[in-house]
Symmetry: C2
Subunit: 123 residues, 2 copies
DNA sequence: CACTTACGCAACTGTCTGGTTGCACTATAC
DNA sequence: GTATAGTGCAACCAGACAGTTGCGTAAGTG
């Protein structure tokens, strides 16, 4: 999970964490774990752990303010993950598009490639 | 993890699974787990499990062809997840934008809201 | 037919994770 | 100074997960 993309996706994979992120982002001055825990059916400690995951993923940051710790959202860190999905979705859809064109033309679907190592880099 | 968004994010959180998805998508006629395992440092069984995660997330589907099972990519299923990120990133950035405008104007950052329940729905 | 190959199922292991509880520490308020 | 939040740290638990091995079954191939 060391690469940054995995971290972001993993962080967003938990619904509680997504709620939390939305809640933090809704306050430009940030929110503390204790505050956030009040609105959730879990302990403050659980919330802290979730927030730490978000921070590790780069989706949030902390700012110390007296005796409290406020969590701030870092929106732009999510962009690469969104871009990753969008790139793929678009490319795949284009490929499918091309395929259906071939099918319409009654062309065989690359039978030479059947059984070949599919993890080999495409030329 | 029952909601579909969590499933997609969780599926994409694993680098092996992302590689796998790319590899499957690169073959419009699909690829079998056995083929895919040849290009990876893991067992066929492990690959099957990964592919099942992708299928459960709606990112792939299977098609039986004689005695082999070919996995096909389902690009469009990833779109909602990408959209989720993009929406947030954009909204959050706009909010930050507004904040810095306020700061420039030396206006206090909503002190009335400090300590309020941050999980409460915004009005 | 026997042989090979691709798949399916089940059990087992180590690690990660979401969540908890309990306690110690620190800064503010009275 | 004492009481009161707010945070930090550690141990612990149940369940999920990545990965393995072993074995059984089904479908082509000689």
């Amino acid at each position: 999970m060391s690469d940054t993309l995995s971290g972001v996706f993993a962080a967003l994979a938990d619904p509680t964490r997504r709620r939390l992120l939305d809640a933090v982002a809704a306050r430009p001055d940030g929110a503390t774990a204790t505050e956030l825990a009040r609105g959730l059916p879990v302990t403050r400690q659980a919330v802290v752990k979730h927030l730490q995951v978000l921070v590790r993923a780069g989706l949030a940051e902390t700012r110390r303010d007296g005796r409290e710790v406020r969590y701030l959202a870092r929106p732009s860190s999510a962009r690469p993950a969104g871009a990753w999905i969008d790139e793929r979705a678009t490319a795949w859809e284009r490929r499918l598009e091309r395929l259906s064109t071939l099918v319409d033309a009654r062309a065989p679907v690359d039978p030479a490639r059947h059984g070949e190592d599919p993890m080999a880099p495409l030329d």
